[in-house]
Symmetry: C2
Subunit: 190 residues, 2 copies
């Protein structure tokens, strides 16, 4: 951020009075421009023990498989956002159920919320951001070709719980470890 | 938003190609400035069946009682944010436990996450944003002087669950009804 979105003047980076973090502050009108994490909301679309995944048609991670999810929009609830993303990415209709994973991804300032969502029918197919959309049983999941660690963790816990016959909310943090490789550490809370 | 925070030029409001919502787009450098909901994270600090509330020293709702909570910051997890807010507003240390309420507040583009948090000791007191900090049993809760509907709903369910002896995640939407009065409709999911 270089300029004030209110008045167009330059911003400077400093700790406002009474605060303890540097913020972007307009040198002219004095507005403080806070920057906060974004919420990504999505579904685990379920059908007879299988889960619907989308192969990404867009970067990042084009060609890799993911759960339908995207940024929560202003004016909508997390469940509405999960439903919308599932329609947009997989042309699929789910009944949005309970929250299943809540993960903080502090290295990219995102909060992931994934809800369980029984599919209402098998009439699905790729939206513009997907190359293909397919149901997978646990044995069929393309573990090496998943787009994001948060999806891998969610599916790992999901199928564990499916085998146990009882689902419970998994909440925690996924941190990216330093280095060039995609390596992560997951810490569950509770 | 009037100006581009990247280059300082004017922004216009229109629907970008491939999108379906109006966004602020820079007329010069073309950057799309998305605006998304913010996450508010906080605690229900617990001690022997009582809950710690803070009386707000700042607007909005100065003088009214609330749970310690505030905007999630970049680089922190939701649990870390809940812990930080509890220290800042109540000078209290909790062990952040399971998520208890997840409410969408679409009329103000906020997502509230409140975690149960057993107090580690009774050494608490008002931070700069609080006038006073006090433990309340269910009978003592100042129901008419709570700052926010999301706090009232959370405490209502909390004490219901306390009486039942079993806590479970409450997730849903709190909508503000049209009109001048503070009237709301809460819809629980699941
Ligand atoms: Zn300004
Ligand atoms: Zn620009």
């Amino acid at each position: 951020m270089n300029f004030c979105s209110q008045c167009g003047s330059r911003v400077e980076t400093k700790v406002p009075e009474g605060d303890n973090r540097p913020r972007h502050i307009c040198i002219d009108c004095g507005v403080i421009h806070y920057q906060n994490p974004n919420v990504v909301t999505g579904c685990i679309p379920e059908w007879e023990g299988k889960v619907l995944l989308c192969r990404r048609a867009i970067e990042p991670r084009r060609g890799y498989w993911t759960l339908p999810a995207g940024f929560l929009e202003n004016g909508e609830s997390t469940q509405e956002g999960a439903l919308r993303e599932t329609v947009e990415e997989a042309n699929a209709r789910v009944l949005v159920g309970p929250l299943y994973t809540l993960f903080s991804l502090p290295h990219i300032d995102q909060i992931y919320m994934l809800f369980r969502g029984p599919l209402q029918d098998l009439d699905y197919g790729p939206g513009v951001e997907s190359l293909e959309v397919k149901l997978f049983s646990e044995e069929e999941i393309p573990w090496d070709d998943l787009a994001f660690q948060v999806v891998a963790e969610t599916l790992k816990y999901y199928f564990e719980d499916q085998r146990r016959g009882e689902f419970r909310l998994r909440s925690g943090v996924i941190e990216r470890l330093p280095g060039t490789e995609r390596r992560y550490r997951t810490t569950l809370h509770e």
